[in-house]
């Protein structure tokens, strides 16, 4: 097994082993849209990272302190991340400012992040320094800014003397954040040991071997990209072909061309990407593409649909894509990454159940073909170090095929939400982590049916509706607190459309349109979410609960009945 040497160690020690044993082996093939591709060996990776580790040291950043890394997908991002680890500093990768995101909103989220995480350092490009200093405001954090343009690889060093080599397996090695003001409050803190326990169990579930090649376009500020599409290959010695999400979204065919030319075997995609690839790639961009090496394309990080799998398989079968390659996983940053894996040993199980019983009785009753039946995709069985329980609202375990909240226990759980012991305590019940997701177990496999929290998932990204409601509520003409945001599944896109309903007294069509435009503009620029529908409703349209709160699910139902 590739991962046998991972246990009882630290990330720095593993990198050191690769450096000494295989300095010339390519760790990452970086693909660029406008330049030629770039191969980074383990030797280059370490030399580049040591440059950063020394820069952290010179600026007085101490082991155990946090460094926020804001960079585009590039060698510098890789070096800064591993450089922090070699220095014993805790890295957290944040999204770069995209061209459409409003700088004010971006700064506000950075400020929120700085306040809670209290990073000692931020790493970014020269041109981006003003953003950091403005976000810092009166905060003392981050104390230092590392300018990547100035940092050079280092050729002479003693790896064993690096501060990160003295880390203990239970020390925190990195933080993962989700997006938005709310997501930034929760930095998932993970230890070296948790990461190794995940990688050992997950590599086993994937049957990872020396023939594998992982191809990824996923961002590194998201668990799927950071763990499956970055740490897993680099720490297991599996070649990684990495492209930027910015390039992929404009040219989805590049993923398939990369699978073909590097003989890729594994890739992870959120559900919408199946639809996106199937619908938006031209035939001429697939000329000569051969997908027969692809043994698993793993659907993960948003609700999974059988129709998306079908669409993908049909579109790419003429190019050698095999139906058996369709795979699924249920994963979350709090468990480092994977909780379950399906579709590796056997095809992904499809459970055909009665839709009505699923909704009204919360039970998955097997059904024969017919209009009342729906096909549920299995997320597979738990990986070896993770246990699952499905609980009713009182915390009691429910029988097989009954829907409840999924809770997990594993040897790779988060250490805690960084500097938020209150949130950490709330997340566990009797030693079991409460995921907030709903699902059922059948024959040892997990099926996800929905979620307890009002989370919207668009393109694999978690969106907290309260963030969007706050942005829309600031628009003149909208009644304060009379706004609701929710997601509605769009079958063609394979992901959710974001809908915002806002109450206003304004009735003139032109003014109503102006308010709707303003909401669209604020939300899009303030949250990095593409808002699909904005609807202005009259005063009193939105329904409140007995406690006076606006219930998202009730208003979602009302919207679907009246307007959809």
């Amino acid at each position: 097994m590739l991962t046998d040497f991972l246990s009882g160690s630290t990330l720095g020690a593993i990198l050191g082993q690769y450096y000494r044993r295989f300095p010339e082996r390519t760790a990452i093939h970086l693909l660029h849209s406008q330049r030629s591709d770039q191969a980074l060996t383990y030797g280059e990776l370490i030399r580049g990272s040591v440059g950063y580790a020394q820069a952290f040291g010179k600026l007085g950043i101490r082991p155990g302190e946090v460094a926020i890394i804001i960079q585009n997908q590039s060698p510098h991002l890789v070096y800064a991340f591993f450089g922090a680890i070699l220095a014993g500093v805790i890295p957290s990768i944040m999204p770069f400012l995209t061209e459409k995101l409003s700088p004010d909103q971006y700064r506000a989220s950075l400020s929120a992040l700085f306040e809670i995480t209290q990073p000692a350092a931020a790493v970014t490009y020269r041109e981006f320094i003003p953003e950091i200093t403005q976000a810092r405001g009166r905060n003392a954090f981050p104390r230092q800014i590392l300018v990547s343009d100035h940092i050079q690889p280092c050729d002479s060093f003693d790896l064993d003397q690096m501060a990160g080599m003295r880390s203990a397996p239970q020390d925190i090695v990195l933080l993962q954040h989700s997006s938005g003001t709310t997501g930034l409050q929760k930095g998932v803190a993970l230890s070296h040991q948790a990461i190794f326990n995940q990688l050992n169990a997950y590599a086993h579930a994937l049957k990872l071997d020396s023939q594998d090649v992982i191809v990824s376009w996923l961002p590194l500020y998201h668990d799927m990209g950071l763990i499956a599409g970055f740490l897993l290959p680099i720490l297991c010695g599996t070649p990684l072909v990495l492209m930027s999400p910015f390039d992929w979204v404009r040219a989805p065919h590049r993923l398939l061309q990369a699978i073909s030319s590097f003989r890729g075997t594994l890739a992870w995609l959120p559900n919408f990407a199946y639809n996106f690839c199937a619908q938006k790639i031209r035939d001429r961009d697939l000329e000569g593409v051969d997908l027969s090496s692809w043994r698993a394309v793993i659907n993960c990080s948003e609700p999974m649909y059988w129709s998306s799998h079908q669409m993908f398989a049909e579109r790419f079968r003429p190019y050698g894509f095999r139906l058996e390659a369709l795979a699924t996983s249920y994963a979350m940053a709090e468990n480092v990454f994977a909780v379950t894996q399906g579709g590796i040993d056997n095809p992904v199980r499809i459970d055909q159940v009665e839709q009505r019983a699923l909704i009204t009785q919360q039970i998955a009753v097997p059904a024969s073909d017919g209009p009342g039946a729906i096909k549920m995709l299995s997320a597979g069985a738990p990986i070896a170090n993770t246990r699952l329980r499905v609980l009713d609202p009182k915390g009691q375990v429910v029988p097989d095929r009954h829907i409840g909240e999924i809770s997990i226990q594993s040897t790779c759980m988060l250490t805690g939400y960084f500097k938020r012991p209150d949130l950490t305590a709330k997340a566990f019940l009797d030693g079991w982590y409460l995921t907030g997701d709903l699902g059922y177990l059948a024959d040892g496999e997990l099926y996800i049916t929905g979620r307890k929290k009002d989370l919207i998932i668009v393109g694999g990204k978690n969106i907290y509706p309260q963030d969007l409601e706050r942005l829309a509520g600031d628009v003149a003409g909208v009644h304060a607190g009379r706004v609701v945001a929710f997601g509605v599944f769009n079958e063609r896109l394979g992901t959710e459309d974001v809908v915002i309903l806002a109450e206003s007294d304004q009735q003139k069509p032109q003014l109503v349109q102006k308010i709707a435009d303003e909401i669209r503009d604020r939300v899009t620029r303030g949250s990095d979410v593409a808002l699909r529908y904005v609807k202005i409703v009259e005063r009193g349209w939105l329904q409140k609960t007995s406690s006076g709160k606006i219930a998202r699910s009730t208003n979602r139902e009302k919207y679907l009945q009246e307007f959809h």
Binding site: K100, R250, A251, D521, A530
Partner: protein, 82 residues
């Protein structure tokens, strides 16, 4: 036909991307840098332009530096129609 390019683009963007069929757009209104057209819709726009006007826009050109408004996109299309 040439006069119609901005109009055809506007109708497509309003109905298919923004889902607001009646909506108008100014010729110089920022489309990409404003976030009005999100990155997931850029490929759709490129496919539409190719099918409708027979003009190819490369994926590396799908950014605000190459075109950011109806007028700029129409110019680019006209320039390539030769």
């Amino acid at each position: 036909m040439e006069q119609d390019i901005p109009d055809v683009l506007m109708k497509y963007i309003a109905s298919s991307i923004l889902k607001q069929p009646g909506r108008g757009l100014q010729p110089d209104e920022a489309l990409i840098s404003s976030g009005l057209i999100d990155s997931f819709s850029l490929v759709d726009l490129a496919l539409f332009v190719e099918e409708t006007f027979g003009v190819r826009i490369d994926d590396t050109e799908l950014n605000a530096d190459t075109f950011d408004s109806l007028a700029q996109l129409a110019d680019l299309i006209q320039g390539r129609q030769g």
